[in-house]
């Protein structure tokens, strides 16, 4: 098994997850839970591919994807922030909505080839033995974007005034409100940003990492895995990245298990029985479940919880005390 290839592939797949998950982290830190990520990724993948295919310009496609994800998330924002509807159900409905939109508007694009985001190799860093080959050589530009996104988002959340406000709104919106922070505007903003990231992540699949449009198989559950990743990583961008890359590596690893004839000296069952590949394909989903279980009990021990106001609509009290 080619470990270099496994890690490289893991980083690529992980980038998709981490872009979507960091977007969702920002949204959830402000107190809004957006379960429509899968739908937004799908609509972003479709928009990205379609615009890129029709205009021949892949960057326009990216822009279209970001806009698509953002617009869809605004629907979620209005319903949950202004109308104070249940965030869980609204997010779900947006998944259906996004999937429906993507399927209808993406009709006829299946199997087409479109332009792709270029790849690049970072000059000095790619010379580092082993790590250079894995992480800095011949990767899609979006992968490098992912590398930058992680420390930037961590810095933003924890070390800036805006990040302080973001965290306050998610923990105790009433406190922030009385100090003049606009709760509604903050939540709208970060829900929109989260949606934009989700759209970008979708486009990362269709015009970069796994180019093409294959209707709803394009995303195939990665949006949900991204949401689970946010919980598992305790709303921390570094842990999101670690989790995302780890996930990608494990996924590729399990698929590669089919390759060799011998595994640890014994006959490789996956090589000899091709139908066992279905169990390998189950791996990402089983891993997500395990990650969620582990994450919740670890959180219990460390007394780390979700942002305290997550999922609770904010309403300035009608009556004083």
């Amino acid at each position: 098994m080619n470990w270099i290839e496994i890690f490289r592939s893991g980083i690529s797949t992980g980038t998709v997850l981490l872009i979507a998950a960091i977007g969702e982290t920002l949204t959830e830190r402000s107190g809004i839970q957006n379960l429509g990520v899968e739908g937004m990724m799908l609509v972003g993948a479709m928009a990205g591919f379609k615009i890129a295919y029709q205009t021949g310009n892949v960057w326009l496609g990216l822009l279209a994807a970001i806009a698509a994800g953002g617009l869809l998330s605004l629907a979620h924002a209005v319903v949950t922030i202004h109308f104070q509807a249940d965030q869980t159900v609204s997010g779900l409905s947006l998944t259906f909505l996004g999937t429906g939109l993507a399927l209808v508007l993406g009709d006829g694009l299946t199997g087409m080839t479109g332009p792709v985001i270029p790849r690049a190799t970072i000059p000095l860093l790619s010379q580092i033995p082993y790590l250079g080959q894995v992480a800095f050589s011949d990767h899609n530009l979006l992968v490098y974007f992912g590398y930058l996104l992680v420390p930037l988002s961590w810095y933003y959340i924890h070390k800036t005034r805006q990040g302080l406000h973001l965290r306050a709104v998610g923990e105790n919106p009433a406190a922030a409100d009385t100090l003049g922070v606009n709760i509604y505007r903050t939540r709208y903003l970060y829900t929109f940003i989260g949606g934009c990231f989700a759209g970008l992540a979708g486009a990362a699949i269709s015009v970069a990492i796994a180019p093409g449009w294959y209707s709803n198989l394009t995303v195939n559950g990665q949006g949900w895995i991204a949401v689970a990743l946010v919980i598992f990583a305790h709303w921390n961008p570094w842990r999101v990245a670690m989790g995302g890359y780890l996930f990608g590596v494990l996924r590729r690893f399990t698929l590669d298990l089919q390759g060799p004839r011998l595994l640890f000296g014994l006959a490789n069952p996956f090589f000899f029985n091709t139908n066992l590949v279905f169990f390998l394909q189950m791996a990402p989903y089983i891993l997500t479940i395990i990650a969620l279980i582990w994450g919740s009990s670890a959180a219990r021990k460390k007394r780390i919880g979700s942002p305290a106001a997550l999922g609770i609509p904010y309403q300035r009290g009608e009556r004083g005390l």
Binding site: K159, R161, L164, A175, G180, G320, L321
Partner: protein
Amino acid sequence: MRAISPIKDGLMTFTETPDAVPAVEMKDIVLRFPGVLANDHVNFTVYPGEIHALLGENGAGKSTLMNVLTGLYKPQSGEIRIHGKKVSFNSPRDAIANGIGMVHQHFMLVENQTVTENILIGLDTPRFALNLKKFDQEISELAEQFGIHIDPTAKIWQLSVGEQQRVEILKILYRGANILIMDEPTAVLAPQEADELIETLKGMAAQGKSIAFISHKLTEVKQVADKLTVLRRGRVTAERVDLQDFTRESLASLMVGREVIFNLQKCEQTAGREVLRLEDVSAVNNKNLPALRNVDLALHEGEILGIAGVAGNGQSELVEVITGLRECTGNIWLEGKNIANKPPSFSISHGLAHIPEDRIGVGTAPNLSLTSNIIMKRYDQQPVSQKWQLNYVAADALAGGLKTEYDIQAPSVQTQARKLSGGNLQKLILARELSSTPHMVVAMQPTRGLDVGAIESVQQLLLNQRAQGTAILLVSEDLDELLSLSDRIAVMYEGHIVGTICSGDFDITQIGLMMTGTLPQDLKSPSYGGDLPPSDESLSPSAPSSSFDEVLEHVQQYGEGQSSSEQPNAEGLTPSEESSSPSEKLPEEVEQHGEGSSASEAPTPPEDPELNLTEKERVLRKVLGEKYQLGDE
């Protein structure tokens, strides 16, 4: 022009002259919510250096009015002038920019952030990057300036309630507030901490700050305020009055609109057999910190045991372990059955009724009907239950009967619970719990947030239960309520039962000290009731009230105790022990009074008609507050 009166008792007082400019002038404020007229042409004026109390019962509109002043709500009509300048606030930021700051009753703090971070929220600086160290320094300096002790790098959840309140004060001082609004600030403090806060406020007023003080505690208002405005149902019923013109009863009438008699008939009662016993019960709270430590308690038929203590010292956890909502070690015997660590259904089936602290979040199901809420614990009993079915007709009949009996105001039994007012919601809960003829009732904060009329009803219902022989465990933040209802009071501090006192020996100072951790045996007082009376002994007061001389004696002891180092002083702490607990403040206070009383003027309002009190009487008045009747010896 501000006229400055001669210095009195170390305080400068600013008085109004014809051309003095008020710091705050609210005129004709009208604030309307859909269906509710919260403020009806309200006037409110505060001069610089003045402490102005805003009095009214819950729902009268005082907090709403202050929320208008802080820019949270915009009034439909009316005018606001700050230092003579007309202003219009569109958001809290505008109010903050005009020097207005509010300390809320429920603290607005982000628990898992530090003091400094909390203070910085909402500010426009720094532009982007957050350099916490620099701000930590700034805030330390600001705190020192006002004599406030706090560690800026501490996280909020690590601080005590009193310290958290200080953070709230720092928050508004940091923003340059000249007009401070305090919303029920002493609700969460022990009596000694409350006194300390009042001193801090008086100090700020002396420096020219204007203070609006919202309260519904009549005693406190008389203690601290210069002027008073009373609100009732959104209207002003008394504006800028001087306090000494009113007695407690007349103030209450202004608040409520009818005559209020502060007198509950509690008959003498013989305690019966033991109903509940806690043996060595310990438990942790939600943060895994110890909340109950080796608690021993007993409760008898026909007895009300009051649990006193500042919120957060284990009372909630105590109620939860008894009602089966929390795990614990140790035993809890309810009429011979061990209910510790058993689910709530077990204790409910053995006759335990529970009136929860949170009537909306725990006590009722908001979207279900009155009927559904009433049958919450008896869906398994006749006549409501019919094998696997629920007989809704019978349930409605049952609910209808209880609705009439307990006078629950609602359109019908089908009305959803969330449409009921606080008082009616509480009556609903009481109807449900008390109608099942329980053996024991656990009542937590049963009258919190209710208006005076509802408070009377609830308290009378509890007394009726007591007369029928039910054992009642009453947890309340309202010391007055505990004193008037309880047969015995147990005081909790940091998860311990510090001591238990029988009704004949109730002494507010003693209880106040116990609430801050003083052990009763360190107080030289006649009784501290560690052991329980044998079950057939009468609980009627047999010993005379502690004499004044004994109280004066132990009050003066603290003054001495402070000067002798290395000896454990009256609080049970050696002076070298690190503590910023309020009990340490007491000696200084007492010294002040001790000294002050030897000067020509006593620290009472200058126009006090009782100016000719002897020194003894003045100290007693200070210490016992409203409980003191002229002529007591």
